[in-house]
Symmetry: C2
Subunit: 117 residues, 2 copies
Amino acid sequence: MDKPERCDFLYVHQETVEKVQNSMPAEEDLYDLAELFKVFGDSTRIKILYALLEAELCVCDISQLLGVSQTAVSHQLRVLKNSSLVKYRREGKNIFYSLADDHVRSVLGQGMDHIKE
Amino acid sequence: MDKPERCDFLYVHQETVEKVQNSMPAEEDLYDLAELFKVFGDSTRIKILYALLEAELCVCDISQLLGVSQTAVSHQLRVLKNSSLVKYRREGKNIFYSLADDHVRSVLGQGMDHIKE
DNA sequence: CGTTCATATGAACACTTTATCATATATTAT
DNA sequence: ATAATATATGATAAAGTGTTCATATGAACG
């Protein structure tokens, strides 16, 4: 253990703090990571993602499934799209959304594990 | 494929929607999950968690390390504590925080994988 | 005991975010 | 073309969030 020092001017545990500082990811990555989790941090979007785990769905399906207005779903899908969490394809008047990759599944899974303790 | 129906009154793809509906976790779990990710969705808290991946730290250490005021750190630690993401122990005037369990590490890791694509 | 240091808490304010409403775009059918 | 359907977009209002400031608590020590 290193010597405690005054908090407002010196590190209390300077050695430890320096070690940790060197292990921290780049500021930008930490910021992006927070942005990503922010996207997961809304129950409407979580529901959309869970629905898309099972099947490709059009906006209308999602709207009915969740009991959320089409407009709200559309807005949230845009957020998910901007974070590359979902992709879409057009088929006539419908636009079908699906998960962009398998990270979504893992992230949701890890989160659910924590909840279920 | 099932027959498309009018969106505002019937499911567009009723069969699919029903299948998905049965696979959805309980409303409450989805809500809790969103709450959990909301906690990860702030860069100050993300930084705190990453710091705690490496070592147990007191509030002052964290404050210095991140260049964030003691008050702000304290407020955020409370949020993390309320979500059972961190635990703490007192040692004299210091209070040392550490990660509550290993889910944090996995969640952060999965998220970072997505970012790094 | 009173002081100092480490941390916590409450209120206030600025900033975001989300749903809603009205409207626009795009596709298909008549 | 016109109408109808599916989805997207922009503005607005309401709710939520994070930081700061001022202050409180709690421990150690002369």
